[in-house]
């Protein structure tokens, strides 16, 4: 992907790129550390239809949401040599059964054979979480297992 970096003197830096849908999408990084998400307009690629101010924490969360699939893809790549093993991510829906409970309480390993290798929360990755790791609504749980194990995981985490 060809990311264009444009200095904005006195303000900060604009980094953006063309997406396949024909729009420019990118981020303005202000000198004082704030971010702004920008999306260009369809009918006028010079103009922006949205420019959304984000705090560093919000930007981190958004990056995590968008970056999680990449983490899964990366893990999948690593497990390719082991036949029958794959990686998937499951959201902890706010207010659902395991929102506020610990990883150990899911008894996932015992019930499905699959294991939780990472939890993505608010943009940051918590690798190899321990059984006492408490889940929060909005977490993304990255699970490695067989196809059957992963199917069962869906039932456990949804149920």
């Amino acid at each position: 992907m060809n990311v264009e970096v444009t200095p904005l003197p006195g303000i900060g830096t604009r980094q953006d790129f063309m997406i396949r849908a024909g729009r420019r999408i990118g981020v303005i990084t202000y000198r004082d550390g704030k971010f702004e998400l920008i999306v260009s307009r369809k009918d006028d690629p010079d103009d922006c239809s949205a420019s959304v101010a984000l705090t560093p924490a919000e930007a981190g969360t958004l990056a995590g949401l968008l970056g999680a699939p990449q983490l899964v893809a990366h893990l999948d790549e690593q497990h390719r040599d082991v036949a029958g093993i794959s990686t998937r991510q499951f959201p902890i829906v706010p207010g659902s059964r395991f929102d506020g409970r610990t990883l150990g309480e899911t008894e996932l390993r015992t019930r499905t054979g699959a294991s939780i290798v990472a939890v993505v929360r608010a943009g940051s990755v918590h690798p190899s979480p321990r059984p006492d790791f408490p889940f929060e609504g909005g977490d993304l749980v990255v699970v490695v297992g067989t196809a059957e194990g992963l199917a069962k995981t869906t039932d456990v985490l949804d149920g």
Partner: protein, 393 residues
């Protein structure tokens, strides 16, 4: 004690009134500068309410206002940004100078203010208000637009042009001859070169002198350094404003960013006082005679700025709507036009009418600028729609 009480009440009333004006201005989407000027016109000489007892303070406060305005203008862009700006946008910068300085200079010559008046008015109509423009671009969510770097690079070039222009202006105002003027040009070019080199190579040393992790120490050292440099420059007949500006350029990196953040509220306070004092010293009765001329200048220089922006954006491959936006964004004139007018009038080298013309002009342009930036898009679209309709028929 009684005098102090009256002075405090007057000062409090002035600041509170300016606060209300500022709130009103941003609510209707214009810069507060014209309202501050009107506030100043309303007080004092020939105005409604005479202010006594705070002249001493308001005079020095307005001087500090000018120093802070120019210190922050210098801080706004790093030396590296100035250098790349110079390399990338010098053609657009030259077009900007030619198109926008000429109307002011011609008006001054027609009015018989001589070459000195022409030089001053050229500056008044040339320099865009980077403060108003940055605020308006941010408010309208246009910082991510493709034409915005073009607009900013024109502003960067104007910043550099000021570094050369202000020393020349102050030398000429001090009454040096034509040859002496050429000498002043040489000296100011040498000074700005030295400052840029120092800022690029040794900026961290200059920064280290004023920098401190403690905000209180930092503020005191920074303000102290600015006033010292400004005072020394003033003593050397180069004008306090120029000294502060060059100091601003020499401070670089994170120190510059922290300094900007720290000084912004102070600048807003003292600059407001500067506008009021400038308005105070201008007799409201002197405005109506120059109003027609100010309107004519406003119309012409709006068109020339739009043309500058259009041309600069076109060179960067921006579409027609973007070119119109770039042009309209550059229209606003404000604080620096008033600074130039105030330097000129204070020297006594030019007819006092210049202050009236500059006031009326900035009153118009500071209102017109943000409005132009806002309405340009619907306007351009309706024009395009109409021409498309005409083509269809």
């Amino acid at each position: 004690m009684h005098d102090t009480a009256i002075a405090l009440i007057q000062l409090g009333a002035v600041f509170f009134g300016l606060g209300l004006l500022g709130k009103m201005a941003w609510r209707i989407g214009i810069s507060p500068i014209p309202l501050y000027l009107i506030g100043g016109l309303a007080f004092g000489q020939g105005g409604l309410v005479p202010l006594h007892g705070i002249e001493g303070f308001s005079h020095i406060a307005s001087e500090i206002g000018v120093i802070l305005l120019l210190l922050l203008l210098g801080l706004e862009y790093s030396a590296a940004e100035l250098m790349t700006g110079l390399k990338r946008s010098w053609t657009a910068g030259l077009v900007d100078i030619v198109l926008n300085a000429a109307p002011g200079a011609i008006a001054a010559l027609v009015l018989g203010w001589g070459p000195v008046g022409a030089l001053a008015m050229a500056g008044v109509t040339y320099i865009s208000s980077s403060g108003i423009i940055a605020k308006v671009l941010g408010d309208l969510g246009r910082l991510g637009n493709r034409e915005t770097p073009v607009v900013l690079s024109v502003l960067v070039f104007e910043d550099l042009a000021m570094a050369v222009y202000l020393p020349i202006l102050t030398a000429v105002l001090a009454g040096v001859s034509f040859l002496g003027g050429l000498g002043a040009v040489g000296i100011s070019l040498a000074a700005i070169t030295v400052v840029l080199v120092v800022a690029l190579k040794f900026g961290r040393y200059v920064s280290a002198v004023v920098d401190s992790p403690d905000p209180e120490v930092f503020l005191l050292k920074l303000l102290g350094a600015a006033l010292l440099v400004a005072g020394l420059a003033s003593q050397l007949q180069v004008s306090a404003a120029v000294g502060a500006f060059l100091l601003g350029i020499a401070i670089s990196g994170s120190t510059a960013e922290n300094a900007t953040r720290m000084l912004e509220p102070l600048r807003d306070l003292f600059a407001a006082m500067f506008f009021v004092v400038f308005g105070l010293n201008t007799d409201p009765a002197s405005i109506p005679p120059v109003l027609a001329l100010a309107v004519a200048l406003a119309v012409v220089t709006t068109l020339t700025k739009v043309a500058t922006g259009w041309w600069a954006a076109k060179r960067q491959g921006i579409g027609k709507l973007g070119r119109a936006r770039a042009g309209a964004a550059l229209v606003a004139r404000g604080e620096f036009s008033i600074v130039i007018a105030s330097l000129t009038v204070a020297s006594g080298a030019v007819d006092g009418e210049l202050a009236a013309l500059a006031t009326a002009y900035v009153l118009l342009m500071a209102v017109l600028g943000p409005v132009a930036a806002r309405v340009v898009e619907p306007l351009a679209k309706s024009v395009r729609g109409r021409s498309a309709e005409a083509a269809a028929v």
